[in-house]
Each structure stands twice: as C-alpha cells, then as structure tokens.
Symmetry: D2
Subunit: 345 residues, 4 copies
Amino acid sequence: MIKAAVLGATGYAGIELVRILSNHPEVELRVLGSHSFAGKKIDEVYKNFTHILDLDCEELDLDKVSECDIAFTALPHGASKTVIPSLIERGLKVIDLSGDFRYDDVKVYEEWYGEKHSSPELLMESVYGMPELYRDKIKNARLIGNPGCYTTCSILGAVPLLKSGLAKTDNIIVDALSGVTGAGRGLALGYHFCECTENAKAYKVTNHRHTSEIEQEYSNAAGVPVMISFTPHLIPMKRGILATIYVNLNRESSAEELTDLYKKFYENEFFVRVRDTGDLPETKHVAGSNFVDIGVCYDKRLQRAVIVSALDNIVKGAAGQAVQNMNILFGLNEKTGLKNAGFYL
Amino acid sequence: MIKAAVLGATGYAGIELVRILSNHPEVELRVLGSHSFAGKKIDEVYKNFTHILDLDCEELDLDKVSECDIAFTALPHGASKTVIPSLIERGLKVIDLSGDFRYDDVKVYEEWYGEKHSSPELLMESVYGMPELYRDKIKNARLIGNPGCYTTCSILGAVPLLKSGLAKTDNIIVDALSGVTGAGRGLALGYHFCECTENAKAYKVTNHRHTSEIEQEYSNAAGVPVMISFTPHLIPMKRGILATIYVNLNRESSAEELTDLYKKFYENEFFVRVRDTGDLPETKHVAGSNFVDIGVCYDKRLQRAVIVSALDNIVKGAAGQAVQNMNILFGLNEKTGLKNAGFYL
Amino acid sequence: MIKAAVLGATGYAGIELVRILSNHPEVELRVLGSHSFAGKKIDEVYKNFTHILDLDCEELDLDKVSECDIAFTALPHGASKTVIPSLIERGLKVIDLSGDFRYDDVKVYEEWYGEKHSSPELLMESVYGMPELYRDKIKNARLIGNPGCYTTCSILGAVPLLKSGLAKTDNIIVDALSGVTGAGRGLALGYHFCECTENAKAYKVTNHRHTSEIEQEYSNAAGVPVMISFTPHLIPMKRGILATIYVNLNRESSAEELTDLYKKFYENEFFVRVRDTGDLPETKHVAGSNFVDIGVCYDKRLQRAVIVSALDNIVKGAAGQAVQNMNILFGLNEKTGLKNAGFYL
Amino acid sequence: MIKAAVLGATGYAGIELVRILSNHPEVELRVLGSHSFAGKKIDEVYKNFTHILDLDCEELDLDKVSECDIAFTALPHGASKTVIPSLIERGLKVIDLSGDFRYDDVKVYEEWYGEKHSSPELLMESVYGMPELYRDKIKNARLIGNPGCYTTCSILGAVPLLKSGLAKTDNIIVDALSGVTGAGRGLALGYHFCECTENAKAYKVTNHRHTSEIEQEYSNAAGVPVMISFTPHLIPMKRGILATIYVNLNRESSAEELTDLYKKFYENEFFVRVRDTGDLPETKHVAGSNFVDIGVCYDKRLQRAVIVSALDNIVKGAAGQAVQNMNILFGLNEKTGLKNAGFYL
C-alpha cells in the first residue's frame, strides 16, 4: 500500500483527492493536513465521510508526513514553497497542485505570478504532470507540477492540431467556462449563492495566469512561440470546464480529417475521448470522472478549426490527474482508482 | 461473477443501477433492456459511459435475460407485471423497483394504485427490500419489492421511535422534499429547466401513493394501524430527499435520549448514520452514496420529536438499495460496490 | 412626493426596497444608508441601478434622514434600536424590517431573542404591519413592525381557518421552505454557491424565532393560546417561501368548503390569491411580486386541513409589504408601485 | 391607448411581452393569440397573472386582431409568414420576433434558413429593429424585424469598433453563452431540468443562423463584407446572454481609448451602459431589464480588443426591444414601460 498525505485536504481540490484516494485500492491515507480545521475530524468538515474515513485534520508535521511515500500539496499559492523542498529532501514523491512547479522557464513564472520563485532549481527538476504528453518523464520524477484545470482542458484540446503542422499559430483563441468549485472554498461575495446563481461573467480578461501555462505547452507542441487570447468565464454550476478553441488552418481540411487526426493522436489514451464528427462534449458527460471529452468542428468558410473540450475541473483538472500521476509514479495501472463513469446526474 | 440484467436501463433509476453495477467487483452486466433506445449503444444514450461500458440497449428478450442470475426491473408501472412472473419462473432472482411488490395486503395496493393487482400470489411471496428491517427474509427471497425513495427516507427516520413505544401514533406528519430525478426522465412542462429552477411546490397533497407504503411499515413497527399526513415537495435540485417527521411522544423525553435510542437501533447498520444531537442531515452529505443520515430533535414545549432524514433518492432510495439487496441475496458483503463517500461537490 | 430613506439599503431586503421605491410614482428616494458601502454609489454596489438611480450610500446622518417623510429600517438586528426612537422623535414615520417591533408582549420578544428590549414603550405603540389583518391600525401608526418572511406566509395561510372556529389548535405544524436571499448577503460557508446548490436542509428545528411571531398571530386569530411546530428549510433557489401547514379540524369538512372559507375571507384583498380547489401555489407564481398564493387541501381520512401558501420572501415577505404599509400610511392606493405580475422566468 | 395583440403569447418571448405590456402605461392588451392554449385564461397558463390580466388565449382571428393598432408576432418560424402580410394589409404595425424579416438580402435568408422566403417584397420593406442603429427608419416602418437575442448582444458589442476603422475584420470571433429561455418552452430532453442543470455545452458550432444576422450588421458597420466565427453555448440559468468578442486592431490602442470610443458612440443611448475600464458586465446586472452592458478590454500583447457584452435574452434580446421599437413607432418616449432596474436577485 502506498502511504499518502494530502496537505490542504479541506479545500475543494484537496477533498476531491481524499474522496478518490479513500476509494483507491492501493493507497492508505495517512495524513490530512489542514490549517483551518486542524483538530477536527475530516467527517466533521465534510460529513459525507462519516463511516468512510476516520482521520483527523492536522497542522503540518513534517516528521509525520515523512512516514508517507507521497504527498499531495493542495496548499494556497506560496504556502507550498517551503514545504515542498523539505518533503523532497526527506525522500517523498510530491505532486503539487499549485502553479509553482509547472513552468519550463522561471522567468515566465515570475512575470505572470508577479514574484520571485523560491526554488528555481526544483522548478527546473520538476515535471509537468500531464500524462498524455509527458508520461515517460513522470515515471521517474520526484516532483510533479500538476497542471491547472483550464490548462489541461485547453492543452489536450489543441495539442494534436498544433503538433500536426496544420495550425496557424497567430490567432488562437481559447474561450472557457468554469464551474464555481474552480474558485475554491474561500468566502467572497462573488461566490455567494444569490450572487452566483443565474449569473454568467467573464473575468481576468487578457491576464489570467493560466494563459502562460497554456502558451508554454502550445509553444512546445507547435515548435514555435505561441501567444493566445484566453478568456475564463464563471457560470452557475459546481463542476466542469468547457473550452472552445479557435485555430486557423494553413490549408483546407474537414471535420472528418481533423477528427481522425485527434482519434489517432489519442488512440491509446483511456482518459481522452474524442467524439465522432458532429458529436460535442458536455460537462455533464465528464463530471465526477477523470475523462476529457473532445469534439472537433471545421468551419470551411473560414478555414478554421473549432475544438470543444470538456473535463471536470476538480478531477482531470486537479485531483484525478494527480492520482493518475501517482499511479504512473508507483508503477500502477494508470486507471487504478479512476475507472468510473462519472455521475451524469 | 453474478450475471445481471437491468430492464428499463435508460431511466434515471435504471442508469444509476448501471453506474453502480459497472463498478461492482462481483457483477457482470449482461443485458440492458430499454424499449425507447433499443439498438443504441448505452454510451450514445448516456455519454458518460464511453470507454466504460460497451453494451447495446435492447428490446426485452426473455431467453437472453434468462442467462442472467438476477434481473433488476426498473420498468414503467404496469410493464413489470407480465415480465416478472416469467423471470421468476425461469429461476432468476428479481428485484423490482416499481411499487408493485411492496405491499403486505393486496387491497391496500389496489386502493392506492386504483387497479387490480396482476400477480397477487407473487405479491404475497415477495419481500419488502429494506435490509435494515427485513434482512433475514431478503436472504432467501426470489422476488424483492425494492422500497420507494420517499418511503425509505420516511421509514428509516421513524421506525426506531415507533418500535420504542414512545410514539403517539395519531398525529404523525411527514413533510418531504425531493430532487427532480425523482420524477424520472420523461418530458413534461413541469420538469423543463426554466419551469423547475427557482421554484418550489407541493404536489399530490393528501394522496401520494407512497403514503400507503409508509403507513404499512409504520403500522408494522408500531404494532397498531397508523395513518399519516405525507406531503411531497419538488425543489430545484437533481438528487436527494429530505424528510422532516413530526411525532408526538407519550411522555417527556430529550434530544439526547432520542438520539441514543436511534444510535442503538442502528448501531450495526453501515448505511444509516445517526448524527449527534444538534447535528442535522443535509442532502449534500448523502448525494451519490447509499447512506441515510438521520438527526433527531425534541421540542419540549410540545413533547414532540422532530426527526430529519436524508438520502439520495436514486441511490439508497432506488438503485443503491437494490444493489444492497442483491449483495444480501448472493451472500456478498453488503457494502460491496457501495462503499464510497458521496460526491459532496 | 413622499421623501423616503432606506437605512440598510445594501442588504437584500434593503436593495429590494430600493428597487421597488425607485419605480414608485409617489416616492422620491433621498437617503440610502449603508455602513458597509458608505461613500460608494449605489450602482457600484448593485450594478443593475446604473442609469436608474444616481445616489450615494452614506453613513447614518440623522439630520439628513430627518428631511424625509419616512424611513425604512432594514438594519442588522439591534442596530435599529437606537436609531428608531430618534427618527420617531423627529416626526418621521418608520417601518422597521427587523424583529424588534413585531410583538404584543415584550416578554415574548425577550424570551425568543434572548435579550432585553431597549424601547418597550415604542414596542407597545408599534403596529404589526400586516395589512390584511391590521389595516386600520396601520393607517395611523408612527412605527410599524414589518412582519417576517416565514411569518407572513404562515400567518396568512392559516388565519382564516383559525378565525373560523373549525381548527383544533393543539397539533398545528408549519413546515416551510425558503430561498437563500432569506439568509441575507453576509458571507458564510453555508451560503457559498458550491455548498448551497444541490442541497436541502432543515435548520433551527424547534427554536427558530419566527415561531413566536407566528404563535402570536395564530393565538390572536384563534382567541386561545396556540403553540406550534415550525421548521424552516433552506433550498437552492434565490427567492421564495413555501409553507405547508397542517391543522386538525373539529368536524368533517371538504376542500371545497375550506376553499370557500378562504376565498370569502380574502375577497377584498388584492395581494392574496386563493387558488381553486386542487390548484396549488408554487413560488414561481409569486416571485418578484407582492402576492401571496394559497391552496387549501383536506384529508378526509384524518379530518385534517393541509394548506400551502407561497410568497416572495423579499417582496411580500419584506420590502413589498413594507411599501404596502407605506401606501396605507400615506393614504395612497395600496397597490401603488406594487401592481406587477412577477417574473415567472 | 395603443391597442395591442400578442400572437404566440404563451411562448417565453410572448409571455415576456405580455408581462411588459401589462405594465405599460400607454398600452391596452386586447388579443393574446395562442394555438396551444386557445380557450384558456392567460392566468391558467402563467399563474403569475392572476389579479393582473384577465384575458383569454385564443386562436388567430384576423378580424379581431385587426381592431388593434399593433401586433407582435412571436410565432414559430414559418407560422408568421402568412399572418404578417394580412396584418400589414389591414393597416396594423407589425413587430415580428422571428428571423423572417431581419435580412437585407433574401439570398442570405434563404441560404441560412434553408427555404424560400414567402414574402420577399415585405422583407425588402421591413426595417431591422435595432433602435441604436436604425432609429430613424424604425419611426416610419410598417413592419419591423425584431433582432435576435445573440445578435443584439453581439452587434451592439462590436459596432462602435467596426465603425471606427480600428478593427481588422478577418479574425473576429464571437463566443456567447445563453440561458435556457433562449431555447423556448417546447419540450426536449436537453431542456429537462436534470439534463440541463450542472451542464454546459456548445451547440450548432460553425452553423448557427444568428451568424448570418451578425455578419450582416458587422458588414454594414465595417463597410466591407465580414465573416465571423460564432459559437453559442447553453449554460444552466434561465435568463441572460453574455458575448465575448475578439477583434484584432490595425494599430496599437488601449483599454481607455477603446472605452472612450464606446462611451461616445453610445452617449445618448439610455439602454446601453458602457462600463468603465476594468469593469465587466455580468448577466445578473441586466436580467429583467432592457439594458445592454458592455465592457471593453485590450490585449496589448496581441493588439486585440476583447469586448464583453451582456443582456437579458427575452428583454433586450426579444420582448423589451420589441416594446422599445413600438415606443418609437408610436412617438412615445423610448423608455416608456421599460425604465426599471432589473431584478438582480
């Protein structure tokens, strides 16, 4: 059994990790770190866990965490910086769910996050935890920067096209919708039920941090620097991200050709479901599961591909992908603990 | 492996059965019966099943179903009547999710359902599938009448009090709220998103059929005939039932005494979670799981117990309880395939 | 033109007052009091008011408020206590939306609110602002205690029966559902969108303060002291209260007889709509309007009336009723500014 | 008083017209046409109208409609074709809410709607009912093609930029979100509450009819033919459209410069609210009102404007704009009956 710690266990990504890991046949949950709820039982904080998980939330105790094989850090931005080097030093595998270890270039991080990076060497060592792109590197990593929610959806939705050479890279636009769990459990007026229900809004237009993470991977895939417009929107649902991606092509194509391209690219990927031509993803199809669904359209009037991709922001966009990474790290079947169909209802 | 058929697989209770059974380690799903979608793959009808379950929906074929060990019938009221006797005859275990096989007395059925019962002998033989009350009988049954959603919530919420002798039985009121999956997948104006969201209503006041089913079990528990007011309400959510139950007591008591009574009554029941005094159930705590949560209050001004119980109407109120019954029928651990924490989010 | 001040203008009841008054043909809004947003324009706080209302939020300035004819106080519980006597002294009419001036008996207030009342003489003078019951007293009042949301719904739903002499008064139960605006705009985990949507819960079972306010008016109507069970529930919608009221009768009756009784009782009341037998209210029918809808059922098995009533908690349950009271106070047609159909959608 | 008929009164756009007109001080509603509910009172179909509007729904009777001054046709696509010429002939003003009379060029209509136009001469005569662009023509029109919901939002959001000469016209993308009322009241599985809530999806990608209507007005504004990508999305709310519009610029600019441009363009338009730089529209700010809110952003990395616009699809996107057009047609103040703040809650 893999002994696991979840640090930041009572946020929405953290508790989804706990939910998945508590059902994982090869994992023993040992430590639930939570500053806000230290001393409380996890099932006092999330009452769905009564009769399921009998663990206390606790303040960070590095010695105790060190008895684990792996730590998932779902800590507030910044808090993870001091903890992670200590855990690595003590020999744990670390999967970090913050934005701190996702970048190839420390300058990009510092520009978009507006601060110095505290462990640039670890950043250089860390592996970007997107199995569909970096499975081999993940296998031997000590530290994984688990991708963002918007970014996973946006990257998996466009990489096949960018790698194919069909894409023009100068007018790519990613327009994305997110459920409210993406904003976390913190209190703010904008997430009050009465302010949030029956409301749609765009936010951080032109300057959301995930832009830089998407651009990094788009550039890697295209082999040239790519800059994009990325616009996130908040809509009144809990789970789910839907990204609509516009890419001009450098020659005529068809929905069928593009769909084939995607199907081939992902033919060995269990968690990516490329839909048939004319069939489009919906967040309901992926909610509660680790799947990404992708539908590919082609606008022949404009010689433009329009790709729609959907995932559950706290599963494939956070906790599920983290567990997928853990499975790879420990040589397990990648689907272990993640092979379920989603709720639908 | 238990070979299983789900007849009526594409309704909401049916597809939840499929979802649970597709993750059940001891079950092999063999047949998905669906008149409306016969010939389609299940993952065309519910796209969350792509990469998970590769089965076609099909018209009823008794010979094919007969190769199974068990059939779950989630058919429209009436449709199950002719099918079930044939299945029983061919040696299958049958768990029926309709109201047809839940009654001790055929007259009660005929009065509340307004029609003759087609198989009164089978009704007499059938066992009411509430494991917490009838586990021993379930073990050897051929045919199980799986309880209704409102009824499971109402019965488990009051039986300990009714059996204790503390309850006066003449002014019991059950006021219950249900999510919209309870109404099924059929189209009707009242379930259109725009009519349903931001709306609450009572319906079938004084005459909902579940009244009779609750009264049967309340009477069995109390040892005297009990008549109640039962009022169902539709509220704008998908999953969940919350029942608030008012019972006058024949002597003074306290919330603590009553909570103890409930905790003892259910001390060996994994799927019933009696909350501590002052802690009340919410549908969010049980959604997606097979748990029933119960909170007990006492109004000393009125010498009245007020009990609140919550469950997921399509899990413990339908598909989950059916799988729990199947586990008992086949000698499995009752929790098999059902031991998960609920979604919360 | 009536010059009006709204103190506590940026809470949910306050802003609904502003919305209604900004469309009222006989009112000029002069002062918007808001401690939290003092110095901001109202349309920075509620952006729906841009191009509609060009007023600043301001800290309480008694001299400025004194230039008005009327003040609506929608202040946090307690804050209104010192302000209101000063306003009365300066000759304003005051309509208070808190619980402070709704009681006949200061002892009842002090028992249920757990503190001394600061102005018992004003409490004695104040009039309970339910026009359907106390229109004549309201006309000449200086201070009106505007009724609570649950209470308006519960009282108007039962008073005709209680006054008729048909009701037994010892087993009355009021089970009520509320939208989340009822909880106000303050931040708390329970009102976070992700915690609130897809969730139903009961709260303050056996001890909600509105119990005492309902009991007061039930007792007044029945002519004997009445004690009830009142259970509030929070459900995932913004606006609306639905109350289901159970009353045993002292002789046989029928839905038709009871409906007639209600129709006669309210025949001159524009804002009360008694539905025909078999037709039940829904919150969608009243949302955004000042109407209360009432449906009356009869359970002949139990000789029990079951009444369902619905209103919009921030209109007839707060701001709308306050404006109705203002219209009466100033001799206007009671419907002025309130004669609209509700949103439905 | 203007005597008005609403044909198709019981659909969602129709009933919103009835709601607005029943509060309009210069209008007398005479005829409510509804094939589906002919013979029923309007307040049986929409119970919010009890005590407000005492009119029957009726089958189309041209003679009776002819006694009106104006007819609003909110009929299913096609049904309006035969009715409208008759009404025009009899001297009524007609405001048509379908797509039939919105086009400058019959060929564009026929290509996107896939059928011959039945009254091409009337199409040539009809005026596109967007007051902000065509107020003068509207004044004297007999027949107004009331703009679509997505189109109003998309057009008003981009026209100032297109007219300014700053816009490059070859990579314009409009990504839009709609509430479910946009789909109408008809029953379909996709609009069942349980399928719709907690779900987001794109639909009709690359081929939605509104594309052609937007392109027509973008071309008119730019003075050159413009082709765009338009992607509609369905999200779980009732009312509201939010459009995010991407336009490359032909020189460097700034958010301030662009915002100024918009503010000047709309300085005399009551119903268009251009937000200050950095302030973005939300559908909650416009729901229930006739306002369009616009926020302008600039991405200096990409020399690209990103404009966000929001409106209520059944008010400014349908019924409200129709009433605005009627006010112009009859020489009334354009705000009459439309000057309210929106619900917010």
